[in-house]
Symmetry: C2
Subunit: 223 residues, 2 copies
């Protein structure tokens, strides 16, 4: 049977925020399938992999046109390409890392950015010992060069891995230099107004959820 | 007016998972209030700080007995203590960090564990260069000592910051040594069965959400 994708509605107008939140998971699992050389998958198989129901999968993917076909399932490469497109992978976004301490180094050395098509073009730090270092192929610049650097390159994302105390002031300066996307690991709430898109990572919240679940389990088991 | 807490229902039986998920945020904001020396706060003020509605706050906190009183608001210290109790802060949980690379070091040096009452008692790594190092007051041990160490200490949480390739095997071994809580940064899905509590951190998902939001904004603004 020839694979013919259904006619799609204009995606970004119809996909609900809760579906969008789940798309990165689809992205991850589809990458695994591609790596394994699988060209198509049923909603049932995908559901089992992801630990959700097949009907949830069908519902989610129907939101932006289906991509699947009764008796065939999903074309893995096609679905992956569509999800990449929706999520802005391949939109050519660029990022800088502000703070070249352990967290900044861990993040820049991970394959996260490359996998998601984000180009990390520089790291910045106040520590003179770090300057000129090559961290996973990215050069550490002094903070004084930030201004010039941002005028020369179009930067979409600032990854904030600097100390909390310096976060608010630095973020405001970066916004002034035209950067509007902030991936904020500092734990400092940023008030940058509507022009900015801020994604906060609060690792401590995740740790607390784990502690809560461990204590609940122990209670359940009468420990 | 004297502050008299309402009679509370047995908390863990009535609090819904979605409320539990929000509790770490209350924890964070109440810590700020305590630091600022504030002893009481109205649901309206707390709502403004947290960027939610006052009715959401009242609803959430009512789930486990209220803690508030008409015309008085919430007693900050009392509410903080209750939330700590619910979340297992002060339950005396212990953790080890498996993987002393940049991410492990960044995590152990943060104040996350101390704030949440989790005691980090050791780090482990295969790299002989790291052995015996003191990272933020925590000693790096060789992986060969893991077995002995876990028999001598009761460990509740293994923080997995080792390479993805070694994650599944190491986690299974740790479970065999009696550790049931896993804070998993490796990106590897762990299949440890029902005896284990696994909290996965997928930083890449957060990055993708940010990229999506940036692209949506740019589209909206006709860029």
């Amino acid at each position: 049977m020839k694979y013919t994708p259904k006619k799609e509605p204009s995606p970004k107008n119809v996909v609900s925020p809760s579906v969008i939140k789940r798309l990165p998971r689809y992205f991850r699992y589809l990458r695994i399938l591609i790596r394994e050389g699988k060209s198509r998958i049923s909603s049932g198989e995908l559901a089992e992999m992801m630990g959700v129901t097949a009907s949830q999968i069908r519902q989610d993917l129907n939101c932006f046109g289906g991509f699947g076909q009764q008796g065939y399932g999903y074309n893995v490469t096609y679905l992956y390409a569509k999800i990449c497109d929706l999520l802005g992978v391949g939109a050519g976004l660029t990022a800088i890392i502000v703070g070249a301490g352990n967290l900044g180094r861990a993040i820049v050395r991970s394959s996260m950015f490359e996998k998601r098509g984000v180009d990390v073009v520089g790291m910045f730090d106040v520590n003179p010992l770090f300057l000129g270092q090559d961290v996973g192929g990215v050069l550490v610049h002094p903070m004084q060069e930030l201004d010039d650097f941002c005028r020369k390159h179009k930067i979409d994302i600032a990854v904030l891995t600097l100390p909390k105390e310096a976060a608010a002031e630095t973020a405001a300066a970066l916004l002034g230099l035209g950067i509007t996307g902030f991936w904020n690991f500092t734990g400092q709430e940023l008030e940058l107004g509507e022009a900015a898109v801020v994604e906060n990572v609060h690792l401590g919240d995740s740790l607390m959820t784990l502690c809560y679940r461990i204590c609940s389990e122990e209670e359940k088991n009468g420990k």
